[in-house]
Amino acid sequence: MSDRWTDRLSEYLDDELGAADVAALEAHLPSCADCQATLEQLRRVVARAEALDDRPPTTDLWPAIARHVGVVSLDARRARRRLSFTVPQLAAAAVALTLLSAGSAWLLLRRPAGAPPSQSTTTPSPILTNVGTYEANPRYAAAVADLERVLAQGRSRLDTATVRVIEKNLGIIDRAIRDAQSALAADPANSYLNLHLAQEMRRKLELLRQAAALAGART
């Protein structure tokens, strides 16, 4: 599916191509369905990334994320959105945002009464990997393992029917994650599959977090 322009579409969206390249690319686009479709997918990724700003996490995690991705400030990012990553990297960033948010929420949940809120759960490490391999990322795996451990500890406090339902639905999500990973193995640059995988991974964290909270309550 790649041609010489495929890898330069993000530069095009960022207005970083020279005038000659812009003219050449725009002449090429009408005859290249692949490039048109990829460009549209990139625009969707950017639009979805923009939408993430509408629901900021309780703790401001952006400064740490900004350090990771090398962006000076959120205002600067809003002023001029840069698209300097590949589609899988952007999808991975979406998962990272969710992971950081979920991790922060969980830390806040565990925080002893009277203790100050944690400022950030981030530690410097490369987060922009292909989302297809992200489940193997130590921080994602650790967050899942943490929540699973809490759930296991609180399992006896949950109604058996609730436990069955949670396990069944985690299984459904895991199956969707495996499906997406298998599909991505054959088509790693597919932005839909990357975003779909990111969404299902986020959903798994959310359900685990919800289940862990239930296990801590009287059920």
């Binding site: 369905a33 479709a37 609730t162 459904i172």
Partner: protein, 312 residues
């Protein structure tokens, strides 16, 4: 679902409490009920009436301040188990209702509503402003609400009708149905279920509907201006009206523009089919209804449908 509890409740609910307290405008109602029912209806009086059926060992506490009316139960021997509340409130009163083995119903509210339960249904008619309804193991149903609407289940369906505003609906193992919707910002996502959206597509609006194992049916009104992106892995696309595909990458990923394309509609189904129709057509869509019937019967998706573009 609550058969055992209901049986026990029938034996145990031996006492009635009936209390009415005056409330100021702007006060909020908070009810937490471990098991049983919370049924809220409205009246024109500036007062809250709480009637409860409960065990003689339980005591109902109605704690009213200027800002909040809190309703809960206490037992002389450990926590209360099953209480059925029927509560009448001013229509504009904000409601925060929660429980575990609890069915929640609200009728006629014109205020903000938060309702959360684990094993129980949530059924609401009304609601203005923030309306957040959640259940883990029960259906979530909403009608006649407007505002910022957030609907969530895990293992059951979500149904909403005659609603307007910003809408978010999410479940894992269940269908989502949003009909008679007026929204410029709507999102519905499930893993194992179908999604139906029958509502407005407003200029500049954003709409996103996705499922992993299920079908999407979405209405696009005539004269809409919308850019539609379609993504599937192993499903097919069809429309009840002629559409012009552009940027056709594969038969599974493409975009189409209707009118000026100012709204954005994202449709994603990994394993299922995607169908566009006109408002009101989806319920009458014979081909799809037959397919849905097969799907319900077999729980096995037919993935051999070719892309068809039928005349309206």
């Amino acid at each position: 679902m609550l058969t055992t509890l209901a049986t026990l409740a029938g034996l145990a609910l031996a006492q009635q409490t009936d209390t009415t307290v005056p409330v100021r405008a702007g006060a909020r109602l908070e009810v937490n009920n471990f098991g049983g029912e919370i049924a809220v209806k409205t009246w024109s009086k500036t007062a809250v009436r709480v009637t409860a059926s409960h065990s003689s060992r339980d005591r109902i506490i109605v704690d009213a301040s200027e800002q909040v009316v809190r309703v809960k139960s206490e037992s002389r021997r450990g926590p209360s188990q099953v209480v059925d509340y029927e509560i009448t409130v001013p229509a504009a009163m904000a409601l925060a209702l929660s429980g575990v083995y609890t069915d929640i119903t609200v009728d006629g509210s014109q205020g903000e509503i938060t309702a959360e339960t684990v094993q129980g249904t949530v059924k609401v008619s009304g609601g203005v402003g923030n309306v957040s309804l959640k259940s883990v193991q029960g259906d979530v149903t909403l009608e006649k609400a407007r505002g910022r609407i957030d609907l969530s289940s895990v293992n059951e369906t979500i149904k909403a009708s005659e609603i307007s505003g910003d809408i978010s609906a999410e479940t894992v193992n269940g269908d989502i149905s949003l009909v008679q919707v007026e929204s410029s910002n709507a999102e519905a996502t499930t893993v194992n279920g179908d999604v139906l959206y029958d509502g407005t597509i407003k200029d500049g609006g954003r709409y996103r509907f996705s499922t992993h194992d299920g079908d999407l049916r979405v209405s696009v009104p005539e004269k809409s201006n919308v850019s539609v992106s379609v993504s599937t892995f192993d499903g097919d696309f069809s429309a009840c009206f002629p559409v012009q595909l552009v940027g056709l990458k594969t038969k599974h990923r493409f975009t189409l523009t209707i009118g000026s394309g100012s709204a954005r509609l994202e449709l994603e189904s990994f394993n299922g089919d995607i169908r566009l129709c006109r408002p009101g057509q989806l319920a009458k869509d014979k081909d799809w209804r037959a397919k849905s019937k097969d799907w319900d019967k077999n729980k096995d998706h037919d993935q051999d449908h070719d892309q068809d573009q039928e005349e309206e």
